[in-house]
């Protein structure tokens, strides 16, 4: 194709880098809150994830003979690593973060063709890989009880493999699942373990960034206001979890958690506003995005309620990622002057020329 000058001779002030930067900005409050809750180990883990991602991106681009600089500064690798870091247990060893980032960037992103070409969300695919391969490290939840470990202790936790046994605990979803498996129903296992205000404030067991549900929600609303994405996928995903949770909890409160603990637990807020809205791996029409979000939500609820894992956001998102091309094929906007099937609309009057 020729590189001739072409219309339009004007352009909106926008760029891929600007979009990524805005999303990262929306993640900053939840991240800082996570740092405050969990202290230096969380900071180290986050830093390792980001550094590895940048390195992997540079090497992958070099191997493909593509210029590394523009891609490194577009922020996409940073955002992937950032999301991954937020989904890790804050006291996980450094190599969990490094391996996850490497997998996300080198395998999930670049093997599929780089930015814009990947089928699966890199952060979620990496998290699933880690969860399946290293279930112990990936479920090493830590109770949040400031004061957090000091700098030296933190170094030992992240890089030295020191354990923090005294403070380990189970997440709400994990606790509910374990107790249910043991035959203890929710009416007996939950009291004392769950309080709504903990879920709102994030002062409870969970991943680095996903405990601060309200901050993530605020970040998501900020991004919708900035028109980075539309409400369709996140709202549908939250509905997809909340509606079945409400019905099941109403029918059998001893076996099914209610909508609020579902909404405020695990990676749902992160998933709804920052993962299901990943443009690359989600459908490209509003209706398609709604369907995609709804699928993510329903699958998340189903995995949480009936699956072997206590949390299902990452699995649900990956399953729906795989369905995206199909959704895109069938959910197309109607073209002007045509009906839904693509045929021309009928003329109202015979034009005689």
């Amino acid at each position: 194709m020729s590189q001739a000058v072409h219309a339009p001779h004007a352009h909106a002030i926008t760029s891929v880098g600007r979009i990524m930067a805005t999303v990262i900005l929306a993640l900053v409050p939840a991240t800082l809150y996570g740092f405050w809750l969990y202290g230096w180990p969380a900071v180290f883990l986050w830093a390792v994830a980001l550094a590895t991602a940048l390195l992997a991106e540079a090497v992958a681009l070099r191997l493909q003979g593509r210029p590394a600089r523009p891609a490194l500064f577009d922020g996409s690798a940073l955002l992937t690593a950032w999301l991954l870091a937020l989904s890790l247990p804050p006291f996980a060893p450094w190599w969990i973060a490094a391996l996850g980032s490497l997998f996300a960037i080198a395998i999930v992103k670049h093997v599929f063709g780089g930015l814009g070409q990947n089928v699966f969300n890199p952060a979620m695919a990496a998290r699933v890989m880690l969860l399946i391969s290293f279930p112990v490290e990936m479920t090493l939840w830590t109770a949040t009880m400031p004061p957090a470990p000091g700098f030296a202790e933190a170094l030992a936790i992240t890089f030295g493999g020191a354990s923090w046994d005294a403070m380990t605990s189970a997440s709400l979803l994990g606790h509910a699942k374990t107790e249910l498996t043991r035959g203890v129903d929710l009416l007996h296992s939950l009291p004392g373990h769950y309080a709504l205000q903990d879920g709102l404030a994030g002062s409870r067991v969970g991943s680095l960034g996903e405990t601060a549900s309200l901050l993530l929600l605020a970040g998501g609303i900020f991004l919708i206001a900035r028109r980075i994405f539309t409400w369709h996928a996140p709202v549908a995903m939250l509905l997809g979890v909340a509606v079945p949770a409400l019905i099941a909890n109403w029918a059998n409160p001893a076996h099914f958690l209610g909508p609020l603990p579902h909404l405020l637990s695990g990676g749902l807020m992160l998933g709804a506003f920052f993962i299901a809205t990943d443009p690359v791996t989600s459908p490209n029409t509003a209706a398609g995005q709604f369907l995609f979000g709804l699928g993510c939500g329903l699958l998340t609820w189903a995995i949480r309620s009936f699956g072997g894992y206590p949390e299902g956001v990452a699995f649900a998102v990956m399953l729906m990622n795989a369905a995206t091309p199909v959704i895109d094929r069938y959910m197309k906007p109607r073209i002007y002057g045509r009906d839904r099937k693509g045929g021309a609309l009928p003329a109202e009057q015979e034009a005689r020329t």
Binding site: P8, H9, S15, S76, P333, I335, Q349
Partner: protein, 489 residues
């Protein structure tokens, strides 16, 4: 009035404030005018004057050819000094047949044929006068207006829509025209109304032009004309979009506005109709917005057709900054001007000199499927999917998902965060398709010729053989007869 919901559209940075408050001024007559014979959709006009002829302003100098064409008139009085090729108002800047007219400075009109009561003219007569005046769509499409009037009169029009959208950034020529000459515009609309006899007349004006709306409403008082403010959104000036906004109907794919009983004309076209019929003046000038960050004093000028763009820039104080790009038309759909000597034609709504900051076309990045383009497309297409298919050369698949419905409005390219030149892809693909279709036609024609030739050769050989056989038979018969007579003798 209730408006109907639209899909897509963008809100580009308007920059209309650069020239919106500048009243229309007449550009001093340039020494030479370069009047192309093709300024419209359809067949080029044929020159009916010779080099050396003296002409009066408004005199016919080239007549329209065929059913879709428009005549061309002398924009001023003077002498024809050349009929030859001159760079066209087209991105290629390739030369096209052009009449060069040397102004004599008198600017003397030919005797005008003015009817006693323009509003008493027969509809056919109005259309005929519009055709004779060389009026074409002044919104930029440059389709011969009389052709539209005739089609619509025959098929019947329910709604006449007059397009005062002017949704392209920078352009303010229609805005100023409506503010300053609303009476003339309304008179033109009434004439068109009379020519097609529609049930209702709607004038759609974007709500970012309150002064124009007020002026038009005042001028339309006591007439059947309804002036409607429509939301400012690009591409509201796309006739089909305006139609949908005003009456909620869509023109069928591949069809015409007439199919749904609608006729759309631009406000400037309506004004030209008024001038042609009430004042007896054919289309020899138009209002042009001269704007852009590089122009010292942006303004709106009434310009004789054929004036080189350079004269407009000069009149506006020249360039305050070095322009990075010169554009003819609006920034969303206009063409780059390779040189400033290119003449203003009937369809030229603006000439822009843009700075690098205004153009803003950095290097393209990979598509992140953000679907901004899908949200922006007023047609309901999937620009990212079409571009992906075109990139791998799968044109048939791109057509399947709607390439031919693309109107090249540029909304998708405008919003793309990866700065992918989407419209460029689509225009490229459309060009390829046209070339392929042409090649196919040519191939078929060649094949047909070859088969015909074979058949012809076979026929000739057969005929030759038959002739030879006949001759042989005749000879044998003669010999037999000779023998017979010999035998009987």
């Amino acid at each position: 009035m209730k408006l109907f919901k639209l899909r897509g559209g963008v809100h580009p940075i308007g920059r209309k404030e650069l020239s919106a408050e500048r009243p229309i001024r007449a550009l001093p007559m340039p020494e030479r005018l370069f009047v192309p014979l093709q300024q419209h959709v359809g067949a080029a006009a044929t020159a009916i004057v010779a080099v050396g002829d003296k002409v009066l302003k408004g005199q016919l100098i080239a007549s329209g050819q065929g059913p879709i064409s428009a005549p061309v008139h002398a924009p001023t009085s003077g002498r024809i000094v050349a009929l030859g090729d001159y760079p066209a108002p087209h991105p290629s800047g390739l030369p096209v047949p052009t009449l060069t007219l040397e102004a004599d400075g008198e600017d003397r009109w030919q005797a005008a044929d003015i009817p006693d009561d323009p509003f008493a003219l027969a509809p056919e007569d109005i259309a005929a006068r519009v055709a004779a005046a060389g009026i074409v769509g002044l919104g930029g499409a440059a389709f011969p207006s009389a052709v539209k009037l005739n089609i619509s009169r025959k098929s019947g029009v329910d709604t006449l829509i007059v397009n005062g959208g002017e949704c392209e950034p920078y352009l303010t020529c229609d805005d100023r025209l409506m503010c300053e000459r609303a009476e003339g515009v309304v008179a033109g609309i009434r004439l068109i109304h009379r020519a097609v006899g529609s049930r209702q007349v709607l004038v759609g004006i974007e709500d970012n032009k309150p002064a124009a709306i007020a002026a038009m409403r005042a001028a339309a008082l006591g007439t059947d004309i309804q002036v409607v403010a429509v939301p400012a959104m690009y591409p509201m000036g796309w006739d089909k979009q305006l139609t949908r906004a005003l009456i909620g109907k869509e023109v069928p794919a591949g069809g015409r506005s007439a199919d749904i009983g609608v006729l759309v004309h631009n406000v400037a076209t309506a004004y030209a109709v008024y001038e042609a019929i009430a004042l007896g003046r054919p289309l020899v000038s138009r209002i042009v917005t001269v704007s852009g960050g590089a122009v010292k004093e942006p303004c709106n000028l009434e310009v004789p057709i054929g004036t080189p763009a350079q004269a407009l820039f000069d009149h506006c104080g020249g360039f305050g900054k070095m322009p990075a790009r010169l554009v003819m038309g609006g920034p969303m759909m206009g063409h780059e001007m390779p040189i400033t000597g290119i003449p203003i034609v009937k369809g030229t709504s603006g000439v822009l000199a843009l700075t690098p900051a205004e153009i803003g076309q950095p290097e393209p990045a990979p598509c992140i499927r953000c679907s901004s383009c899908v949200r922006a497309c007023p047609v309901g297409l999937l620009p990212l999917e079409m571009a992906a298919r075109i990139r791998v050369g799968d044109l048939a698949d791109a057509v399947d998902i709607g390439l031919k419905d693309c109107i090249a409005c540029g909304s998708c390219s405008y919003v793309c965060p990866a700065h992918i030149p989407l419209v460029h892809y689509f225009n490229h693909a459309k060009g390829e398709l046209t070339a392929k279709e042409k090649a196919k036609l040519k191939q078929e024609a060649t094949k047909k010729l070859a088969t015909e030739r074979t058949a012809r050769m076979e026929r000739i050989a057969r005929e030759r053989e038959e002739a030879a056989a006949r001759r042989r038979a005749a000879k044998e018969a003669a010999e037999a007869a000779k023998k017979m007579t010999g035998a009987t003798a």
